[in-house]
Amino acid sequence: MSEKTATGHSFKQVPNSALTEKLKRALTGIEVEYRETSTDVDLLVSPANFGRVVRELNERKELSFDYLRNIAGVDYVKEGLAAVYHFYSFKQGHAVQVTVPTPLGAPHVPSITSTFAAADWHEREAAEMVGLVFDGHPNPKNLLLEEDLRIHPLLKAHPLQKVEILQGIEENDPGFKF
């Protein structure tokens, strides 16, 4: 037990513009659109390229994104669903957001559980909440919802209802079909 500051890495914050340059150099040859949110660099990647992008982000020494922070599923209604990933690198001290929009009616994204063990529960949550399908996930069961409940509550089409109506215990029409 020791109380010390900054042993392994320095707490330097990398400006987003410098990170974008680095990413552009590393990801040449892959179709990626670069954007910036209020906090992070955002990469727009198609589901087909996503596996390759994650491999590059994880394995390249100058990027070395080794930490998966979060996966959020977003329902863009007419533009389909999107999976939003947040990665961080302990070695380099920089963070990136990767957005994977999926076409309407085909919400398939490759699973990254083989690279990041942390993705397991995040993917299960995103799958049940908005209905994304993570191809290759080892255990695609419901996590927060009941095991046999096949609804996706965070879809914009899903109404706010009493639980009893959703479960069919009360008789009112939920307004949509399971």
């Binding site: 302990f90 942390a118 996590l143 919802l145």
Partner: protein
């Protein structure tokens, strides 16, 4: 020996006995699970062979409710995620809304926020020490020790905000109202009381050889594995990685304070405990520096619109919650409600590593390992 028909016999154990794997269900209404959490343990005698965690018993649809209510209304739900440290959750939520809308926070409000968040952190860690002591076997004593300090902190929160557990004290753009007039002497007294409490715990638990022997070398974790599993907070720092969002990506005014990041050596249960108890002392240092630096002034941005509408925005605001990285992914697409709000819950991520930690340990140790993760189910289940 009779064997249940659908259970397999494991032959060839020492002593010539045949053993049967048994399934034990713990929770959701079991005090050792710290809330409504259920795990199904497959045990071979006393040794855990497999563990299947079940969560979601406290799922209230935080994210859906945040989308259905406007920015001001939704804050009440966020208090109820990490309900042991309501102020920290409010802080993260308000910072996300401020980032989206581009709202400035007055200087004095920032200091008040940091003080409240650090007191919340101490409060939550006291809860951990009390409950963890009870898990390990000191039964009621550690709980009572913890409660003395927690009551005093809650009394102060009540005086400041009008509520103890769910203060709803923060606002996008500052805090609701100023501190009471005698706040400085109250907080200084509180800090001396907290330090006494930390000292008492140090004597009660760290000074207890039985406690130390039970916790040491239990479920050790390497840095690489912890990073890959997505652990954060004290559980990650116990492995020896000195990563704290307050230092690595400073938010609010944390870059103005001097404090250390306590780290462990091998990431076992004892290190997790020790990191937390050291962290509480660092938090008292931050609060003291706040008291020295705080200035007079406004506590709420005077130029706030009556009905906050945000045209467009996207951000991922990270804060160091009491259990780890408590972050909010917020997306606005016009109107007075967010389009999407996603909570990155530290307890959720830490709990997902439970299965790997408990396999191979004794059943009684599995309870301690769960306790050492310091989960709060309101945050796991959202």
């Amino acid at each position: 020996m009779t064997v249940w028909p659908d259970e397999s016999v494991v032959p060839g154990h020492a002593g010539g006995f045949d053993t049967v794997d048994m399934t034990i269900n713990i929770g959701p209404q079991h005090p050792a699970t710290h809330g409504v959490f259920r795990m199904a343990l497959t045990v071979d005698g006393e040794v855990v062979m497999d563990c299947e965690p079940y969560i979601g018993y406290l799922h209230r649809g935080l994210e859906k409710l945040s989308e259905a209510n406007d920015y001001r209304q939704a804050m009440g739900f966020w208090d109820r995620t990490d309900y042991l440290a309501g102020m920290c959750c409010e802080g993260a939520y308000c910072m996300a809304v401020e980032k989206l809308a581009g709202i400035d926070v007055p200087e004095r409000a920032e200091y008040i926020r940091v003080m409240m968040m650090e007191l919340s952190r101490i409060n939550s860690h006291f809860m951990f020490l009390g409950a963890f002591g009870a898990d390990v076997g000191s039964f009621g004593t550690s709980f009572i020790y913890a409660w003395r300090e927690r009551e005093r902190i809650y009394d102060f929160f009540e005086e400041v905000s009008g509520d103890r557990m769910f203060p709803t004290y923060f606002r996008p753009g500052g805090v609701a109202f100023d501190l009471p007039e005698n706040y400085e002497s109250r907080i200084r007294w509180l800090i001396s009381s907290i330090r006494q409490g930390i000292d008492d715990f140090d004597g009660l638990l760290t000074g207890n050889e039985i406690f130390v022997e039970r916790c040491r070398n239990l479920a050790p974790m390497t840095v690489e594995r912890a990073v890959n599993l997505g652990l954060s907070g004290p559980v990650l720092r116990a492995t020896g990685l000195d990563w704290d969002v307050r230092k690595a990506e400073p938010y609010s005014i944390y870059d103005r304070f001097k404090f250390a990041i306590p780290v462990g050596v091998q990431g076992d249960v004892f290190d997790r405990y020790h990191v937390r108890i050291s962290e509480m002392f660092q938090s008292t240092l931050i609060v003291e520096q706040c008291l020295d630096q705080i200035t007079e002034g406004l506590v709420l941005n005077p130029n706030l619109p009556k009905n906050l509408r945000i045209e467009k925005g996207e951000c991922y605001v990270r804060t160091e919650g009491t259990k780890g990285e408590y972050s909010v992914y917020a997306l606005a697409k016009g109107g007075n409600k967010p389009y999407r709000m996603k909570l990155r819950s530290p307890s959720f991520c830490n709990l997902s590593a439970l299965r790997e930690m408990v396999i191979g340990s004794y059943v009684a140790d599995a309870i301690i390992i769960l306790g050492s993760l310091d989960i709060v189910l309101g945050e796991v289940d959202k």
